[in-house]
């Protein structure tokens, strides 16, 4: 029986009333026994999810007398969300550690060349780091909200932890906006290179060539793995943004149940995305020689590029040749 529902019900009743009125009878008498017909809590709770009524103060959310759903939210929050987050993040850490132990750092097979090639221009890198830095702070401050009291509180003590958490909350609230802007740019800049293609399946079948040395399935500017990351970031980021905004602006077009759902989605999804992003960060830094350069200087080693993005390099070289050719022919004329 939410606000909206009761509005609808009122409207329905009103319409029904209209339909029933045939004679303008100033009032109709009825036997009304208020004490005997009093509303009973048990009855109400068994038939509806929350009990609400009328209240004179303007704060209409106060008209919800009871919402036992709060208890369910608490359960989801303290068990499902907790464990999904913990397992996915710890699981990913474990997986990456294992991977590193077994596979070690993925080196450039043919060794570094003395030539580089421009992979990301300045704007692309800016967009990446804008989003990434926001994401890291959002993730850490978010994790603090979920796990801080078990991990940090005993270390820092109540006051310091609380001060930290307060800062973290402000950071989380305010960085949400640059993060969202970053998401939008990221989408606009890279969407054309991230449309899934047939080749992506081959790349996936080959395991991206990550498991063994010397074998690198061909890939364009973004391989299938990176495309997956892209869509996880865009899709997941959008959901996180929407649910996050719901929580930032409580009761703005939402009722308590919406916010509870929003928080649950936000929490669980963040855990999963953080895990995915850990893999992304790993492979983009310690996990692979030369990968970091793409987002550092934007210039990557040509050999690295040939191994991991052979089709893209061909594409770029073809373009360059064409450009050279054009230039030469212009000069010849």
């Amino acid at each position: 029986m939410t606000d909206r529902n009761s509005n609808w019900r009122n409207l329905a009743l009103a319409l029904l009333g209209l339909a029933l009125i045939t004679v303008a009878q100033p009032m109709q008498a009825q036997t009304v026994t208020p004490t005997a017909s009093a509303a009973k809590e048990e009855q109400l709770l068994s038939t509806m999810k929350q009990i609400d009524g009328r209240i004179s103060i303007p704060d209409q959310k106060a008209s919800v007398l009871m919402q036992p759903a709060g208890q369910e939210w608490r359960k989801v929050h303290n068990t499902t969300m907790f464990w999904v987050g913990a397992v996915s993040i710890l699981g990913m850490m474990l997986a990456l550690t294992l991977f590193y132990t077994i596979r070690g750092r993925i080196m450039i097979d043919s060794g570094p060349s003395d030539r580089t090639i421009l992979r990301f221009n300045g704007f692309e890198r800016f967009v990446h780091w804008l989003t990434a830095s926001c994401f890291i702070v959002l993730a850490l401050s978010g994790l603090n909200v979920s796990f801080g009291k078990y991990l940090l509180l005993p270390l820092l003590g109540a006051d310091s932890f609380s001060a930290l958490s307060q800062l973290a909350k402000y950071a989380h609230n305010f960085l949400a906006f640059p993060f969202i802007i970053g998401l939008v740019f990221m989408f606009l800049v890279w969407v054309k290179d991230n449309i899934p293609e047939g080749g992506d399946l081959d790349w996936l079948k080959a395991g991206g060539g990550l498991m063994g040395k010397g074998h690198h399935p061909p890939a364009k500017k973004f391989n299938a793995g990176q495309k997956i990351i892209f869509w996880v970031v865009i899709g997941g980021g959008t959901v996180l943004s929407v649910t996050g905004l719901m929580l930032l602006f409580p009761f703005t077009g939402t009722v308590i149940a919406d916010m509870q759902l929003g928080q649950t989605v936000h929490g669980i999804l963040s855990g999963l995305i953080i895990a995915v992003m850990m893999a992304h960060i790993y492979i983009g830094s310690v996990g692979m020689e030369g990968a970091i350069d793409a987002m550092n200087t934007g210039e990557v080693d040509l050999n690295w590029a040939r191994e991991h993005h052979s089709l893209w390099v061909e594409e770029v070289e073809a373009q360059e040749r064409e450009a050279d050719h054009k230039a030469k022919s212009v000069a010849a004329e």
Partner: protein, 977 residues
Amino acid sequence: MLIKRKSGEATRTRLQAMANGLSSGVLDRRSFLTQSGLALGGVAAIGSIQLGAVRQAQAGPVNRAAPVEIRKNICTHCSVGCSVTAEVQNGVWIGQEPSWDSPINRGTHCAKGASVRELVHGDRRIKYPMKLVNGEWQRLSWETAISEISGKMTEIRDKSGADSVFMLGSAKMSNEGAYLFRKFGAFWGTNSIDHQARICHSTTVAGVANTWGYGAQTNSYNDIRNAKTIIIMGGNPAEAHPVSLQHVLSGKEINRANLFVIDPRFTRTAAHATEFVRIRPGTDIPIIWGMLHHIFANGWEDKDFIAKRVYGMDEVRKEVAKWTPEEVERVTGVPGEQLKRVAQTFATQKPSTLIWCMGATQKTVGTANVRAYCTLLLATGNVGSQGTGANIFRGHCNVQGATDMGLDVTNLPLYYGLVEGAWKHWSRVWEVEYDYLQSRFDEVPAKGGRPARTRKQNMETSGIPSTRWFDAATLPSEDVDQRDNVKAMFIMGHGGNTVTRMPEMSKGIERLELLVVCDPHPTTFAIHGERKNGTYLLPICTQFETSGSRTASNRSIQWGEKVVEPIFESKDDFEVIYRFAQKLGFADKMFKNIKVENNHPVPEDILREINRGGWSTGYTGQSPERLKTHMANQKDFDLVTLRAKDGPAKGDYYGLPWPCWGTPEVKHPGTHILYNTNLNVRDGGGAFRPRFGVEYQGKTLLAEGSYSLGSELTDGYPEFTFGIFKRLGWDADLTESELATINKIGGNNVDAVSWAIDLSGGIQRVCLKHGVSPFGNGKARAIAWNLPDPVPVHREPIYSPRPDLVAKYPTRPDGRELRMPNRGGSVQKAAVDTGVAKKFPIVLTSGRLVEYEGGGEETRSNKWLAELQQDMFVEINTNDAAERGIREGQWVWVKGPESDSKAKVKALVTDRVGRGVAFMPFHFGGWFQGVDQRAKYPKGTDPIVLGEAVNGVTTYGYDPVTGMQETKVTLCQIEAA
């Protein structure tokens, strides 16, 4: 994890904890108020909370080193009379604790009572005297204000006569204040001195007094605990008198009592009824006669009671016979079977009590309604014993007392009337020449075809009721039955938005040469109409800033002690009245027997003067000392009987409910239940009062075979005079000094000296000795031949939603009452002829909200209360709203059938009101006809919440007996705004 040092077993008292001292520095009240951040207005404060703010406690930290005193006063908001226990430190009211010992509220409060502390911290109070000069408010000194106002009053008096100054007192005054103001009116020379009782229970007082003697609740709130059947008809005590519901619901639970609520509206009270009966507004008499129809038809009436104690019931039977169940249903909408069930229960499952409020009284048939109610009680024998009675819940905290004190246009204090004997009685009490008083009144020239009046005749002529003051200012002088129109209003504690027909009132207020508003807050009077000059605002303190007694609805009188000194420059009623009397030149005479200290009359001394003159109503035994003893020993009084079981007041009823016969030394315990023959008069017993002679049309008006317990006279008897004493030989019981006083009063007609004017109290003392009631032992009158409708007859409201019924049940024809014309008959006829009911198809009724009181300025300025009701609204039925496309919470126009009146309010779509009925609360003001008038208030004194007054759209209609206005039933139309 945090560690909480303590748990609930701590037993230190707050006093000790505070005495232990946790901070230093002494705060005076002013700096406390500054520190408390009260400069932030409530509304403004909402937006001013900072990012990451902690809730701001606005008072505190309290200096805990200073001692805390406990002071007891009475809540100033309704007639229940809840004690308020205040904690005071350094002259600042810092806290409020439950008053556990009070047998009336037993610690509890309603929203208003729990937030009264805010009244004396109120930053929206009037802080200093002000006057309106060319539309701007200017500050004045008290001295200048009093002298300017007095000068103007004298000028108007010289030009237009004393009656041209209309005086409006207050039901929120103490008894002493109300008495003093009535006395002020007498010394000024006018009977046009009124107060809120006019618009609340004037019809009750008239109806009840005309039936059995006194105009008051017969039993008490506490006594309702004894009832087996309770009918609440035309009242919503859950909102208007919340603490009374404690007693009602306890009775309902303990006795498994039947609780019927008969009302047009499914109120918060109705929600707790065992059965709710919805009626069409304005059909109370058909309901009562319909019930009596079943009662008489089935022989459920109390034949013995009727035979012994009721006069004229046969006349009632004739009228009742017309009200067959079919006719009742046609008129009221209530089916016969349901009414039969209610009637049978009420008549047979006794004791039964009938509770009513404004629903009965605020109608053109108000007095008749009340008389019909009384008749039902009489027919079923439900008066004068435990658990029965007319439990009339009065409105303001001292509306009973102010009525008793004669703030009424037809009375001197204590119901002595305006006849020569009454004036002479009071001139004896006041020790002032009767001729002097007479000289103060106007001579009225012959006009409008009416004969002239001498000063004496004018002195004995009722004044203009508060409902008509603006008509008295605007109608042609010929229509106003006094020397000239009303030219000035002197208002002490009365709202302006509580009287109907505000568009007409605008014209009246603009015609006034002088408007004086003495109040803690600027009432609607201060801002209504287009006045530019001649309005004065004088800051009066609340009853918490002074002391005095107040009479609760059950006639218990409670002494309230001053909690804090008057804040800002405000003064109490006593001082202001005294200073005006001084300036007007009659203070010496008026305060001859009242001690005045430092321009401040001593309230205890005023009460002693009341005691010396209040014989007729038994206001004589309640000395300030006895009342204070009661307040100090509240714990000794029984919850149900209200009698002290122990202690210094042992045997007394709480608050010495009047009549408390004889002098204080006689130690009469007061009268808990009026007309109760089951007790000796010495223990608060009594009988019906024969006020209208000993016989009428050959039939006795004295009781037959009924008398109070232990009475030496075992049959009916008339009121006692010295002459009757002599015949009974009881004159021998009088002491010498008593005899001397009686002889002095009687002069050459000593035999005529009665119990009511014997200033020695000897007659009453001897009456008690013989166990008889001083006022006699008569029959209650089912037929009141001195009233317009001796047996109540149904009359449709002026604006009836059923024009088809008007022909059969028309209102009374035009006439003149209380110096004014009453055009009700022609207004009703015109309404029918022009088809008003078609254009305005919704019945409009009005009533109280729990958060606010009266005109509402005080409570709407209280931030704790204002937060709870921020918008004026109209309750509109779900179906009516759907037909008009009106949604919950949207703005709508409520349009009235007179003067193109309209009010912009929010819609509250609810089934509380039936189809075709709308309800608006009457506490709002400050908007008029859709326009916000906040800017017109003096800076910083505007109430937090403003809104349209319901009386912006209410209409013509006056009870022929009392001039009561018709607020409970009129017509309107509602449209989306």
